[in-house]
């Protein structure tokens, strides 16, 4: 994963990558030549840490979008390997086809049974193409809800990993009812009697993301994004080409801190300095810890209460002016 990450260095990370490369060169030289360079190494490492801190404490929204898309960033399958034991993948939507862009299966997190549902972008080129780069077709959404219903039947909580640029926009996807399956998932997830915890781990691309994202708790990794439209799509609408995506990323208010301020997201999970792609293991541990904590909190509720709370959670999202209320407030 680390090799991949440095191979896909982001522009704004160039000074960090340069220092990292010098450190690794120096280290291998010191090892092969048996010359003690620990003093210089320590100094370089300190410098690198400072650089990371400086760059990563002032990220703009577009930089975060780029980090969210970084190929070295941990994916759904990395979290499964990282903390889900005894993972038993279950395939298929029972209707048309097994969509690899959604992965589903049973597993245990520190002994607790869970049903995992998540977007899968694929790692190898072959996988990426098969997964349409993590953009599901209708059968992917049907597969997800089929496994969620199964989990519900046996009282198993659901963990959803969100990481998609969006539901696939194509002829077949429309022929098989992309809009209809996403809508059905939203409705079905609102009805689930078991706890649901969703984590946005990378890209939260619009309808394709929320299609597996209706949950009791919505968590977001610090450098992930969640948006009604991609920055490129927004740029194309407003400025007729995609080159203004950085500006679009700003005005869409799609970062974890924006969405936490809007109270749309329940918790932002901090990433290591330098981003999740620089330290996948500690990111994975932080996500595990957050999932378990939220799962514990929502597991104590009575199933009907939990469902009602979920409904009210979504009912409370929205900002508008209520002219009658304003009048009342003015008088008070």
């Amino acid at each position: 994963m680390e090799n991949e990450s440095s191979a896909h260095g982001l522009d704004f990370e160039a000074p960090i990558v340069e220092l990292e490369n010098r450190i690794s060169e120096l280290r291998s030289f010191s090892e092969s030549s048996e010359i003690d360079l620990s003093g210089q190494l320590e100094e370089l490492e300190k410098k690198c840490e400072e650089k990371k801190r400086a760059i990563y404490s002032h990220l703009n929204p577009w930089q975060r979008v780029q980090i969210a898309r970084h190929p070295g960033r941990p994916r759904t399958t990395d979290y499964i390997h990282g903390f889900v034991s005894d993972f038993l993948e279950l395939h298929g939507d029972g209707t048309y086809r097994d969509d690899p862009a959604i992965i589903t299966g049973l597993g245990r997190i520190r002994g607790r049974k869970v049903m995992i549902v998540g977007h899968r972008k694929g790692k190898t080129n072959q996988e990426k193409v098969a997964c349409f780069f993590g953009m599901p077709h209708p059968e992917g959404y049907r597969k997800a809800i089929k496994k969620m219903r199964l989990a519900e039947k046996f009282g198993i909580p659901i963990i959803s990993f969100i990481n998609t640029a969006g539901a696939f926009p194509g002829i077949e996807a429309e022929e098989r009812g992309q809009a209809f399956v996403i809508a059905k998932n939203l409705q079905a997830m609102a009805s689930l009697k078991v706890p649901v915890v969703a984590v946005v781990i990378g890209e939260g691309g619009s309808g394709g993301a929320i299609g597996i994202g209706v949950a009791d708790r919505i968590l977001m990794l610090e450098n992930s994004y969640y948006s009604v439209i991609s920055p490129e799509g927004c740029s194309a609408i407003l400025w007729k080409d995609t080159s203004h995506a950085p500006r679009a990323a700003e005005i869409l208010k799609l970062t974890s801190s924006d969405l936490s301020n809007f109270q749309i997201v329940d918790e932002v999970i901090e990433e290591p300095i330098g981003g999740a792609h620089r330290d996948p293991m500690s990111t994975i541990r932080a996500v595990e810890e957050a999932i378990l904590r939220h799962l514990d909190e929502v597991s104590d509720l009575d199933p009907e209460d939990r469902k009602l709370k979920r409904f009210h959670k979504y009912m409370a999202i929205g900002r508008y002016a209520d002219q009658q209320q304003q009048v009342v407030e003015d008088q008070g």
Binding site: E174, Q178, F180, I182, A183, F262, I317
Partner: protein
Amino acid sequence: MSDEVREPRSSRRRDVPSGLWLRCPGCSKMIYKNLMVERGNVCPECSYHFPITSEERIQLLCDPDTFVEHLKELAPADPLGFIAKRSYRERLDETQSKTGLRDACVVGRAEIGQVPVVIGVSDSRFLMGSMGSVVGEKIARSIELAREESRPFIFVSGSGGGARMDEGMFSLMQMAKTAAAVQRLHEVGGLFVSILTNPTMGGAMASFAALGDVIIAEPKALIGFAGPNVIKQTIKTELPEGFQSSEFNLEHGFLDLVVDRQEMRGTLIRMLAYFCQEA
């Protein structure tokens, strides 16, 4: 999920020339305006359905003088402080004064064939009927009203905009909110009839609009998830004739009925009789 990109086309379509004749966007023929209006704003040559206002739609579907508007006081805010070339606030103000609407949908109690219902209608004149916080709130709360008062819920969708970009994630979350409200109505055995008009796309189509117990569309409406241009750019192929039309969706099994505008009220009355009356 776009509205701005479609606005010019829609305003062109809406600016019906004040003369006696006009060119139909469906068949490109010159048609006699009075005849078109007489047929519920439907082209007498090709039955292209011209967009109509929420007021006209309510008149067309409800028993005379039975509609009482609900939640009229809700008005849009600008939660993101959204400013691109023009600010959202500016576009809202302009659209509000042009249309006299506060936002893109109207909801209320009414009777259809003497059956008390809750009905909502989106209005495509207002930012392409797109769904932001107000539209989502009105839909969810009127579904709740239908549940509490045991009335059927009828919603006429028309949204090329889908989820309204200018309200960002607040708009996307309205999809989950409206779908959750439909589920609550469903659990008490309430009826939801979803009527789709040209166009119903994106976040509107991928939430409440797709969740009717019965889904009816007007002919030749554009219905789908991704906009045709987005699909074309993604797959780099031309789209087949009639792709994402009402008829296409009927053929693929997603609609119960395609019904002409002039027949819609009669169809609703027959349907309500089956679901809401004893005999």
